[in-house]
Amino acid sequence: MINIISSKASSPNTLLQEVPRRENEDNLRWLSRQPRPGEDQTSIVLVGGTSMTSFRLRVAQSHVRHDLVPSYWSHVMLLGQPARTFATTPVYEISLEPPQGFTFPPPTNGVQQGRISQYRDPELYPNIALLNTPVALAQVTEALDAFQRQRAVLDGVELIVRWLTYVWGVARAGNPLLDGYGIPSAAMLEIAFGVAGYDLTPGLESRSSCPEAIWQAAKWWHEFYVQQNRSALSCVYHVGHTL
């Protein structure tokens, strides 16, 4: 059992809004029409995919939910400084399906820099959410730079290997979340935001961070942030696929 604590909030965060996808609208256009983050804010993108890897990840996170149903979300990433064209805006992540392969991940502690355009296809990624956090992007990217040099703090490479063995069904590999190993990209963001003084998953006392825990923070932990004199996460989302 994963030690995740339920929020005491009796109602969901009012800053969480469903924004349905328009007809034939891809994820880039959906994201483009959402409010831009403020100067002292940083955006996180959650996606829920339909690939086999995404399916395995979504099912694995059912243990973080009290109803044990699969999560909407398979992956989470940091949205970088907006580029001239939105499609080329950088994302920082540790994907288990990097488009160019893993090459040799240790020098960056597994961190990959890609483009948001990788997540354009609504068939591959029918679920999407944009979260705004009250932390300046420069603070988070500075922490992310340090993270890449500090495998001793959290070994992103180890997380990649553990999760690939689970996702690919290698030998008798079990669900790493049950052993306290977070999904790599979420664990990376947990560390980076933690350095910036922000709790991305207040319901967890361990490093077993995952996209579902971040989603629950956005939906249910708004009162906690207020108690901490911080702004709650704001979030817009669309869910087009459930398991």
Binding site: I5, F147, F193, G197, Y198, D199, P202, E205, R207
Partner: protein
């Protein structure tokens, strides 16, 4: 004459140093330098003989008795987390100490930590080769401690167990001074541990005698009130000379902060009531209550340090009288725990650090009202296991026979860590805080705690460093990270 300097825990804007002048017959005149500049520090304890005149051998002039003189001096107006060089000159002797002021806050950076060394129970006779000092000095290359908590039994004044000590305060004071000198002056002894970082001491029973203030069947001097009083006087004079965290007075708790950590160091030994009504004075309890209030108001994380474990049941009257009564054997245990419970009520998780028991253990207790970890207790004991006549020999024979039929036992004299109670202080706190053991550590050890701010909380990594050359158990054990999340 021989000079020794050790750093002491102090507020971030100053340094405190303990000065030992050994084999002297009078307090020397001192010249101090800070980073090469002549200074006059504040005297918290003016250098003086650890043995007052009344404890010197009768009929001998004090100027004819070579002995230890100690003092504690404070250098104010400094910068936090900064390296300073202090030099003291006395006659043609000098000593130099390089030490840092404490940092003002727990680091937030990924590659920075606040390192706290937790040690207890050092018996020099079982570490004559100075292995503890060697390992602690080598820790500097891994993670240099910022401060050291000496959690009790830094000396064993009541050993050797089977020797009858004269019921004479002067004789006792001289014997105790030799015990301290062996550890503080060296060679070897506890010197590397004392030099590793600014330290803060609390006494446990062996700074007095086993099971102080109660009579011990193994210590003849403790069997009469007058004998106990003479021993206590001599032991307290030595504690004041070598360990007392000035400007605190004997028995007073000490508070200090490294934001957002707030430390409360409780002397639960010196003012123990012989009738077991209390383990701390009413004044100490009130200071603790104020500390809890301040910790909650300032949204800090409490670190409660005591010479004995809070996570233990009371022991029976006979076992207590023969061995050592536990904190729950005193009537104020409930008051102490109800006070700490307020931290949990306010959603402020706390750490409890201690030693004493001759094994290591990490226990967490969850608040069933919130599902959060409310308390984490870390036990570090011993650095060097005390000799126990009889029991050691039985254990060693058992280990020898066991080795004939199975793998070698690297710790034949050490006992296994015990289970915590099912619930923390179940009488006072009912069943609110179920306990779970996270780690057990057998054998000689020191613990390095590393703290880093993470989000609005604190991340703690706990490393047990075995004090041994035995290859099978010499590897350190890391526990955590444990994350303290405030509500």
């Amino acid at each position: 004459m021989d000079l020794v300097l050790y750093p002491r825990v102090a507020p971030q804007d100053c340094l405190r140093v303990w000065l030992g002048v050994f084999a002297a017959t009078a307090a020397p005149a001192l010249d101090w330098r800070l980073n090469g500049q002549s200074v006059v520090p504040t005297s918290l304890r003016q250098v003086a003989s650890v043995r007052p005149d009344a404890m010197l051998p009768p009929g001998v002039a004090s100027a004819e008795v070579p002995r230890a003189f100690t003092g504690v001096y404070e250098f104010p107006g400094l910068q936090p987390d900064t390296l300073y060089t202090i030099t003291v000159q006395a006659g043609n002797q000098s000593a130099t100490l390089e030490t840092r002021t404490l940092p003002s806050a727990v680091p937030t950076e990924l590659d920075r930590w606040l390192n706290v060394l937790l040690v207890s129970c050092f018996h020099q006779a079982e570490d004559r080769k100075g292995l503890a000092g060697i390992i602690v000095s080598q820790l500097q290359s891994v993670a240099k401690p910022h401060l050291t908590v000496l959690a009790g039994d830094q000396v064993y004044l009541d050993l050797p167990t089977l020797k009858d000590f004269p019921d004479d305060v002067a004789w006792l004071a001289e014997k105790f001074e030799k015990d301290y000198t062996l550890n503080w002056r060296g060679p070897l002894g506890y010197t590397e541990v004392l030099a590793a970082a600014p330290s803060l001491s609390i006494p446990d029973d062996h700074e007095y005698w086993n099971n102080f203030p109660h009579p011990s069947p193994f210590i003849g001097n403790s069997l009469t009130p007058a004998g106990r009083d003479r021993w206590r006087q001599a032991a307290q004079a030595m504690y004041a000379g070598f360990q007392l965290p000035y400007p605190a007075q004997l028995g007073e708790p000490v508070r200090f902060e490294i934001a957002p950590l707030s430390f409360f160091v409780a002397d639960t030994r010196s003012t123990k009531d012989p009738d077991r009504r209390f383990t701390m004075s009413d004044d100490a309890h009130q200071r603790m209550e104020q500390w809890v209030s301040d910790t909650i108001a300032n949204k800090q994380f409490g670190v409660f340090i005591s010479g004995q474990s809070l996570f233990t049941p009371a022991i029976g009257t006979i076992a207590g009288a023969v061995g050592d009564y536990e904190l729950p054997n005193y009537d104020d245990y409930g008051r102490l725990l109800l006070c700490l419970q307020q931290l949990a009520d306010a959603g402020r998780p706390a750490l409890c650090l201690t030693g004493d028991v001759h094994w290591g253990r990490v226990v967490t207790s969850t608040d069933i009202r919130t599902g959060r970890t409310a308390f984490t207790e870390i036990i570090s004991s011993p650095v060097s296991l005390v000799t126990t006549i009889g029991q050691d020999q039985i254990n060693e024979i058992g280990a020898f026979l066991g080795d004939l039929f199975g793998p070698s036992n690297p710790w034949p004299r050490h006992s296994d860590p015990e289970d915590p109670p099912a619930f923390l202080a179940s009488e006072a706190l009912q069943g609110r805080f179920p306990c779970a053991t996270q780690h057990r550590q057998k054998g000689n050890q020191v613990v390095l705690l590393r703290f880093r701010q993470h989000g609005s909380g604190i991340e703690v990594r706990i490393t047990y460093w075995p004090i041994t050359r035995h290859a099978t158990v010499a590897k350190p054990s890391e526990i955590g990270p444990i994350t303290l999340v405030g509500a």
